[in-house]
Symmetry: C2
Subunit: 311 residues, 2 copies
């Protein structure tokens, strides 16, 4: 198995990325190879006197897509950027997963242009993880790829989210819920009401009904479906509560699970390959978590399961 | 000043309401009268051997609108219910505010049918309070009256929210922000993008731009505008984090401010009168807080300011 990591992406690149890869390599067997994509000299500078373990290799690139660049323009103008090369290797199946803490838009567009969306899926979604009081993590999607969603998109998010929970989290018959502002099916926005009906009618997964904001963490569901606007607000609000409480000296396991570093990355789900994006501020610990997440995803072969389910 | 309270509304009515009113009366001067609207015998049973202080009076009613009843139907069929009588007294200016922890829909519809929406306002909103790390509370609206919002509605929520922060919270030139999933004005849902342009163009208040989920509690804004779907999810997620952390033994002032009991109630803003709704599970402490909130609102005369601003 080969997991490619963009060394040049993220606020603390390349240092945080290289250090994170070293941490991950320590925990992985030699069956898992990490491919660092980025400038060799920069990587060497981070390493200093150290040498890379045999399980880490470098693919040298010279160009970088910066955080603020226009995704489509940057990708077409910089095919030899670390993101451009990462997707090339993923498309050619040289690597099994591609991870980056860089330009999120470029990662999203890159995935759609290279490995492409799974046929039959209206739009891929970005997955976040919502900590539950039991210690488990619920699959939350979409967290920002699609600010506006049609009911049909939400219905499909339930399906791909359910497959993700089943194959990656090992949950049998995952409980899928729809974020809404009331228990009853006639409650909520027009989109949520229509999505509820579609999800209720589907036989593809175990829809358990609406889930309110107060139930996001109470182990009610394994998969939590919402539009990317709502999901993004939920995710960032959770992260900020972690930051605030940490700075106030609160040390609680549930709160600690709201730390973005715990999951490390957010899969783009519904494309023909394993693509994971991480927070721009990613620390070495976050990068390590992202690589371990990529490994679990590759092992679960979830993207193939999704492809088969939708074909 | 007279503040009317529905004794029959809420999961723990009438006990929690009567006890809450007694707590509030203890903290108020004799210029503030509390009017308990509900069944006299039920109130007496709660009181037992105790007698009401001179500042609390009873308006006896026999009918009750239950939590699950259809708002419009219940209001027309039960004009002598505690909610029906409360709005009658509010409309006739016998009381200066009407508060209830009962059927939210009936309170919303009752407000629209009796004192009515302020002329010029597309739709009233329900206000919540978002605790800030400084200890202040930001005005958050809408938290559930309008699951679907047009950009023009959000623009107006900025205006009435700004007036609320100015007159009730005493904030000079309140900073108004729009909940969105990115800093840049072209980010977010179509509605958020269009609302941003309207808010940017307005001279009626101090619009400071988008606010992300991670900035809901960081003292960035005094007024936080969003659709009622997003606002409801934010509010209930916050309440649940309080519940979870409390049950886990976390005692932190910021967390404690997420307790619904701290604010006690949510004003319906943009109607011709002071109407406040409370959580169904309201405790005596929450009811007390709601009555004190009603007092501040009456003193600020904010609904008249809103009426004047929109005329």
């Amino acid at each position: 198995m080969k997991i490619a990591v963009d060394v040049m992406g993220g606020d603390f690149a390349p240092k945080a990325i290289v250090e994170g890869a070293l941490l991950a390599a320590n925990e992985l067997t030699e069956q898992v190879r990490i491919v660092l994509i980025g400038n060799q000299a920069d990587i060497q500078e981070v390493l200093g006197e150290r040498t890379l373990p045999a399980t880490i290799e470098i693919v040298h690139t010279t160009e970088v897509i910066a955080m603020g660049e226009h995704p489509t323009k940057a990708l077409s103008q910089k095919p030899n950027s670390s993101i451009g090369v990462g997707f090339k290797l993923l498309k050619e199946r040289v690597v099994d997963a591609f991870c980056s803490a860089g330009n999120t838009g470029a990662m999203h567009v890159g995935a759609l242009f290279s490995v492409k969306a799974v046929e039959g899926l209206i739009r891929p979604a970005i997955v976040g993880f919502a900590p539950q009081v039991s210690g488990k993590m619920a699959v939350l999607l979409d967290i920002g790829a699609n600010a506006d969603c049609k009911p049909e998109m939400l219905e499909q998010f339930g399906e791909i989210g359910s497959l993700y929970a089943q194959y990656t989290h090992g949950v049998d018959n995952p409980r899928v819920a729809l974020v809404n502002i009331g228990e009853e099916e006639q409650k909520g926005s027009l989109v949520a009401q229509a999505a509820h009906q579609l999800m209720k009618a589907t036989k593809k997964y175990n829809f358990i009904g609406n889930l309110e904001g107060k139930e996001l963490f109470t182990d009610k569901a394994d998969v939590i479906v919402c539009d990317g606007f709502t999901g993004n607000v939920i995710l960032k609000m959770g992260e900020s509560i972690y930051d605030i409480l940490k700075s106030r000296g609160v040390d609680d396991e549930f709160v600690n699970h709201m730390n973005y570093e715990a999951a490390g990355g957010s899969p783009i789900l519904g494309v023909n390959g394993n693509v994971i994006i991480a927070h721009g501020i990613s620390s070495p610990l976050a990068i390590k978590s992202m690589i371990l997440l990529a490994k679990r995803q590759v092992e679960s072969d979830v993207y193939t399961k999704i492809k088969q389910a939708l074909s």
